[in-house]
């Protein structure tokens, strides 16, 4: 059975012309990611892994090349359409500042679903389910400031999954966490990957993540190396 290619990055390049010298962050990268993958993009700082991740997620426009998400070319999409696409099809987990500080854990997840236009009953059920899956039952009414770093990241994961996206992009999600908490978070994400077939793409230089990844793509100076 041919696995579904959910992310098709074709000849991607990104050059920044901000300073006197142009910076070639990503150079002619080809990448196929299939559904159900648990993949890590690794490399030292400046290797371009974050830039590549951003382009895959439609946050940054490539200077050259195309990105197809489940067959749809998002490269030339207009901004508003792109926002809408991200809302419905891509989940994000960042290193920090994921959550809206003034909303509770429950409300944070609920909010995304509201944006998508889900109905009240549907939202309520899913929020409960998601919080359970990340092991935060009982913390529904806590604001981010009342949660630990690890707990915040778990809510972030729950929120990323709320929209039933095609895949989740995680940019250095464990950077601010201690070993135990990081391990915990990765356990949850692995579980989701195994049980629900959710695709996870990490950008990281955390060895704990690299260890757990099923596939590792190494980047050096903007190019993929073997």
């Amino acid at each position: 059975m041919m696995a579904n290619v959910v992310i098709d990055a074709h000849n991607l390049s990104k050059t920044y012309n901000e300073g006197p010298v142009p910076v070639h962050a990503v150079k002619h990268v080809h990448l196929h990611i299939e559904q159900g993958e648990f993949i890590a993009l690794v490399g030292p700082s400046g290797s371009g892994k974050t830039t590549l991740l951003n382009m895959i997620g439609g946050l940054d426009a490539p200077t050259e090349g195309r990105v197809l998400i489940d067959g749809t070319d998002i490269t030339a999409m207009k901004e508003n359409k792109l926002i809408d696409f991200r809302l419905h099809h891509i989940g994000f987990v960042f290193q920090a500042y994921n959550l809206i500080p003034v909303l509770t854990a429950e409300e944070n997840i609920d909010f995304i679903m509201l944006l998508q236009g889900a109905g009240k009953a549907e939202r309520k059920a899913r929020v409960q389910q998601l919080l359970k899956e990340v092991g935060l039952e009982g913390k529904e009414h806590s604001r981010p400031s009342e949660l630990s770093g690890g707990q915040q990241q778990r809510v972030a994961v729950a929120r990323a999954l709320a929209s039933k996206p095609k895949f989740v992009l995680a940019d250095e999600p464990t950077a601010n966490l201690d070993s135990a908490t990081a391990g915990n978070l990765l356990d949850i994400m692995e579980k989701l990957n195994k049980e629900e077939g959710m695709t996870f793409v990490f950008s990281t230089h955390d060895p704990r993540v690299i260890q757990r990844a099923h596939r590792v793509v190494t980047l050096e100076d903007g190019e993929i190396v073997e």
Binding site: L59, E79, R86, F94
Partner: protein
């Protein structure tokens, strides 16, 4: 949408002190601004009321040429018909017919220019309450050649009750007439400027001296309902085309202007206050956004449209204004209610005020419409203030914002 409202509201309170300082500044500014307007309005209203009741009445009628030089030959023709018509008016409260001439009033030591009014005592009293203003001596008793003078004039001429004052003037034919009048009483009003120049004597006495017969120079009318002034003026003018009928607005353009320009004045004062507040609002809101750069970046990455972000910032700004504005107006309303009841004493400035006819107690008041206008101005100002920070928030690019993480 409802979520946006909730989020915006909660965002304000993230930095409680900063928000409260801003809200407090709005409260103080609006409170002060509205109170000043109520002070000014209270003064104006009273000034109008006083001037009408004590001086010019609601309307006056003259021979068209009379007001130019106060020449005694220009009496109101058809005086008696006018009197009849006035008596028939249902809205009428009181009227008084006056014979007038400019004159020299002289006492043993002094002489000065005055205006001599020949009145029918009961009529004039019904119109301006003249009898009640007599502080020394008595109102007219009916004896010949009695005169009522103002206290300021009595001071100036150094005369008292029962003393004589010699008045010199020209009669209808141009002959110089001199008459000795006995002071029967001294009156006092709040308007020194008027007092100085007005002497009252009995109409029959003066008419005889001027040889003006039954006609009068001036008819002053007070109505029951001041909203009817224009209608009555029009009716009288139509009935007596030969006469000049003027309402208080025409007789005293200053008064009319004072009431009509109130709204303009309010726009300017409140406008300046809001302009000053604008600096603070924009500054605070800009800070509130710029410190949330990353958070806003994540929101936009995750699926919040630019429109929603704009809306959120705008709502936050409007909340601040919608708390500060109404609280300020409420405080102002309370202050107005209290000071209206108690009155504000300006006796420190009383001499100057009296000279120009202002009372020295002020009773602030402000119409509901004015509060409404101020509130509207605050909302509008908040809206305008919110545009700049909200637009600034939009300029944030999610990528750049996130790169900062």
């Amino acid at each position: 949408m409802r979520m946006m409202i909730t989020i915006a509201w909660r965002n304000i309170w993230r930095n409680r002190v900063r928000s409260l300082v801003l809200i407090l500044s709005i409260v103080m500014g609006i409170w002060a601004g509205a109170f000043i307007m109520s002070f000014y309005w209270g003064m104006s209203k009273q000034q109008v009321r006083d001037t009408i009741e004590q001086n010019i009445s609601h309307l006056q009628m003259h021979h068209p040429a009379f007001k130019e030089n106060y020449d005694v030959q220009y009496t109101l023709s058809s005086t008696s018909e006018i009197a009849d018509k006035l008596d028939a008016q249902p809205q009428l409260k009181a009227w008084s017919g006056r014979v007038m001439t400019m004159a020299m009033a002289a006492s043993a030591n002094q002489s000065t220019g005055v205006t001599l009014y020949g009145i029918i005592p009961e009529q004039e009293d019904a119109l301006t309450g003249l009898a009640g203003k007599v502080t020394e001596g008595n109102y007219f008793s009916g004896k010949k050649n009695e005169v009522l003078i103002g206290s300021k004039l009595a001071e100036q001429l150094k005369i008292d009750v029962r003393k004589k004052v010699i008045c010199t003037f020209q009669d209808r034919d141009g002959e110089i007439v001199s008459v000795a009048l006995r002071v029967c009483g001294i009156y006092q009003t709040r308007n020194a400027r008027l007092e100085e120049g007005m002497l009252f004597m009995q109409q029959s006495d003066l008419a005889a001296l001027l040889k003006t017969g039954d006609a009068v120079h001036e008819m002053a009318v007070l109505l029951n309902d001041e909203t009817q002034v224009d209608t009555v003026v029009h009716a009288l003018q139509t009935a007596f085309p030969a006469a000049s009928v003027e309402s208080w607005k025409e007789l005293s353009p200053e008064l009319r202007m004072m009431t009509e320009s109130f709204n303009q004045y309010m726009f300017i004062i409140i406008g300046i206050i809001l302009l000053a507040l604008l600096f603070g609002i924009i500054n605070t809101m800009l800070m509130a956004i710029l410190e949330r750069t990353r958070e806003l970046g994540v929101l936009m990455a995750v699926g919040l449209t630019k429109r929603k972000v704009f809306l959120m910032i705008m709502l936050e700004t409007m909340y601040i204004a919608l708390i500060g504005g109404p609280v300020g107006l409420l405080l102002s309303w309370l202050t107005v209610q209290w000071t209206h009841h108690v009155g504000i004493d300006l006796s420190m400035y009383s001499k100057g005020l009296e000279e120009y006819g202002y009372a020295s107690m002020v009773y602030p008041e402000l119409g509901m419409a004015s509060y409404g206008i101020i509130l509207l101005m605050v909302v509008l100002a908040a809206f305008i203030a919110s545009l700049f920070p909200a637009a600034r928030a939009l300029k944030l690019k999610p990528v750049e914002a996130i790169r900062k993480i």
